[in-house]
């Protein structure tokens, strides 16, 4: 055995371990949002009527559109992984790009939705909002924080997916070494999953 000064250190590869780590991380994300769902539950229980009134003002149309967009993007990212497994690099790149595009569309919609609310004077600390009853202030507080934090996760997801795209193009992710792509896919599904809970809680229960 020869030992040069620095070359002894091998980074070993363990795909199962990597995925296990990712699942654990997702678990903490679920708990993070879980904390907020808990707060939502407590306040909804305290102010059922005012939550209902406030929820009527949300734009169910945009919400539904965004749900469709996000669900479809979950599909495309899953297909992108499948394409990679089938050694179809081009298709994988294409599907991943579509996923990113969907994510951006989601954010654009969100932007319009939020700015419409802002123009009606409904934003944290606004006079319009502060004059409303407590339950409505809390509803909008939670609405902005929860969808905002979810939006932040979408943005982080986009950044991760762009990295994956670059990795695929540079052949760092290949058909026999794609655990990074899989893990990013898992993250993206989580972002989707959280939205699936946010959507009915804010837009549908009225």
């Amino acid at each position: 055995m020869t030992h040069s000064e620095n070359a002894v250190y091998h980074v070993h590869r363990d795909d199962v371990g990597a995925k296990m780590g990712m699942w654990l991380f997702l678990f903490t994300e679920v708990l993070l949002f879980g904390g907020m769902f808990l707060i939502y539950a407590v306040y909804r229980y305290q102010f059922p009527d005012q939550f209902r009134v406030a929820a009527m003002e949300l734009n169910t149309g945009i919400g539904t559109l965004n749900t469709v967009i996000l669900l479809t993007s979950s599909l495309t990212v899953a297909l992108s992984i499948a394409a990679m497994q089938k050694k179809n690099k081009f298709l994988s790149i294409l599907l991943l790009s579509i996923t990113i595009l969907f994510a951006l569309m989601f954010m654009v919609n969100k932007y319009f939705e939020w700015s419409a609310k802002f123009s009606h004077g409904i934003y944290p600390g606004s006079e319009e909002l502060l004059n409303r009853p407590d339950g409505q202030i809390l509803f909008y507080g939670l609405y902005y924080v929860m969808t905002g934090l979810h939006g932040l996760h979408v943005i982080i997801g986009v950044i991760i997916l762009i990295f994956m795209l670059v990795f695929i193009i540079r052949n760092k992710i290949t058909f026999n070494n794609y655990v990074k792509l899989e893990n990013s896919g898992l993250y993206w599904h989580l972002v989707d999953l959280i939205w699936i809970f946010l959507f009915p809680l804010f837009y549908l229960i009225q």
């Binding site: 980074v11 371990g17 993070l32 707060i39």
Partner: protein, 546 residues
């Protein structure tokens, strides 16, 4: 620094680096779990001393009634900073990040943790958090003055720099989560062949249980803290009662994390105890499975008791007696451990060296802390001593007398392995005595004062408390000097101490099978495990090998 006569690489991890740099960069960019562990040791040790300094300063202020040294606002900031530093920068990361990093892979026969680069990231998150926490001291507006619990509504109203320390706690939590995630994956994926779960050393078990708490509890406080920051910046209504929010909800969410966090503090310490006692009693541990399982039991029951911090904040009576009952349940698995340790020592051939004496110190101090915990866990007595010095004394006994003592025990136990040098045993023994005396003088009077009605977090006090307050302050001097003394002789030993053999105590867990300090790859060949973890019949074979 390395000895060992084998033919393969004998260079220690100090001489070989994982990257192409040399000097300080080879440390700062290392992904070697041992170097990262040592970097944590230096950083955490530094912040510990900062925390002690704040502690000594608040004690000094209390040496006589009325203003002595600082004004009331400064006092508020100082006890808050003391608490924040000690909790988030010292005691929570202390054992897992330093000794877990260094010894968990060694004890399961692995070359590193599962995600070495993530490990380095955790370290830098820790440093970032630490800087954020202390930055608030320097910025205009003044340092945080809410107490380390950040209770609403004061924490959204106070004009001091609160967001920064809160952000710091969030970042530190993130660091803690990543470390936990790393350890869990490591334990599941990287155990040496033959090392089944029930052949793992108990330190690994307890670190594993801790890692689960880190993962499950920390996100909740993360989001809670984030919400307070958002509330401060944007005036979003979540907790602030002026906006319809519920401050008690904040307390619930805070303690849902912060109570399990006390098990993040104590479980690794219990793991270290379960390592040290068999080694120095030369006997296999009594009730191995019971100890391993009680770690998990503590981790689990620990989730269900958070509201005992809130007996006086207005909960239904039903909630209160349920939480009180559950609190008593935690005593069971803790008791299981204490009895098993004592049974291990029974008829052992005890060799009372410094690490063992530290453990004795631990058992004594921690038992006082634990028993007074029962006083706080019962509703009627808690109402009487709630928010008094009794509580301050209690949590210093469990945290400092418990985990803090074990921090020193672990340092003395593994020092020769980590650095390949030995410290002066006499100085070590003497400092244990002084530590004990200083500790008792500092904190025991607080029990009495608390019982007499001295509230915590007070800048001033009635004249009748003066004698006890003064004893306590003198105790803080003894204790702080002892701590400085310990650090000095250890640092001296680092450079001038005699070389340590690979197994100075006669331990049998895997870290004692390899050279002191270990090589970069830990094991020339990954060992195959056949023995039970504390099977001292191995010692003979090990001596043959050496």
């Amino acid at each position: 620094m390395s000895d060992n006569s084998s033919t393969v690489s004998t260079k220690s991890f100090y001489q070989q680096s994982t990257n192409k740099y040399s000097g300080i960069l080879s440390w700062l960019l290392t992904v070697d779990h041992k170097r990262i562990g040592l970097m944590y040791l230096v950083t955490i040790g530094f912040f510990f001393l900062v925390g002690v300094t704040f502690g000594v300063l608040i004690r000094l202020e209390l040496i006589s009634p009325g203003p002595t040294l600082m004004d009331a606002q400064t006092y508020n900031s100082f006890f808050t900073l003391h608490g924040v530093i000690m909790i988030f920068l010292f005691i929570i990361p202390g054992l897992p990040a330093i000794f877990g990093n260094f010894f968990l892979p060694l004890q399961i026969g692995a070359r590193d943790v599962a995600f070495p680069r993530l490990n380095l990231l955790s370290y830098y998150l820790y440093v970032t958090g630490a800087i954020l926490a202390l930055l608030a001291v320097l910025l205009p507006g003044g340092a945080i003055d809410t107490g380390w619990t950040f209770y609403i509504p004061y924490s959204v109203r106070s004009s001091t720099n609160i967001s920064l320390p809160l952000l710091a706690a969030f970042v530190l939590g993130f660091s803690s989560i990543l470390t936990g995630l790393n350890f869990i994956t490591t334990v599941h994926r990287l155990r040496a062949p033959g090392m089944t779960f029930f052949k793992m050393p108990l330190f690994v078990w307890s670190t594993y249980a801790t890692a689960w708490i880190q993962i499950i509890a920390t996100p909740i406080v993360g989001i809670t803290i984030l919400l307070v920051i958002i509330e401060r910046f944007f005036g979003v209504g979540i907790f602030d009662p002026a906006l319809g929010g519920d401050p008690i909800l904040f307390q619930h969410l805070f303690w849902i994390y912060s109570h399990p966090a006390v098990y993040i503090m104590i479980l690794p310490a219990m793991g270290v105890v379960s390592e040290i006692i068999p080694t120095f009693a030369r006997r296999t541990i009594f009730g191995y499975k019971a100890i391993a399982m009680s770690s998990l039991a503590i981790a689990f029951v620990g989730y269900l008791v958070w509201a005992h911090h809130m007996f006086t904040s207005g909960m239904s009576d039903e909630a209160r007696w349920i939480f009180s009952l559950l609190t008593f349940l935690v005593a069971l698995p803790s008791g299981v451990k204490i009895f098993n340790w004592i049974a291990t020592m029974y008829k052992g051939s005890i060799d009372p060296k410094a690490p063992f004496l530290w453990v004795m110190n631990f058992i004594f101090l921690f038992s006082i802390g634990g028993l007074t915990g029962l006083v706080l866990g019962s509703l009627a007595t808690d109402i009487h001593v709630h928010d008094t010095y009794f509580v301050v004394a209690h949590f210093h006994f469990v945290m400092f007398g418990g985990t803090g003592t074990i921090f020193f025990a672990a340092l003395h136990y593994w020092f020769p392995k980590m650095f390949g040098r030995m410290y002066n045993a006499k100085l070590a023994n003497v400092s244990i005595v002084f530590f004990f005396v200083g500790f008792m003088m500092l904190y025991f009077p607080k029990f009495i004062m608390g019982y007499m009605g001295m509230p915590r977090r007070y800048y001033d006090y009635l004249p009748q408390f003066e004698p006890l307050q003064q004893i306590s302050t003198v105790g803080s001097w003894i204790l702080a000097s002892t701590i400085l003394f310990i650090f000095s002789y250890l640092i001296y030993a680092l450079f001038k101490g005699p070389k340590a053999s690979s197994n100075p105590w006669g331990g049998v867990t895997l870290e004692w099978h390899i050279s002191s300090p270990p090589t970069l790859e830990n094991f020339h060949e990954i060992p195959t495990i056949t023995h039970e973890p504390y099977d001292f019949s191995q010692l003979k074979e090990m001596q043959h090998d050496a």
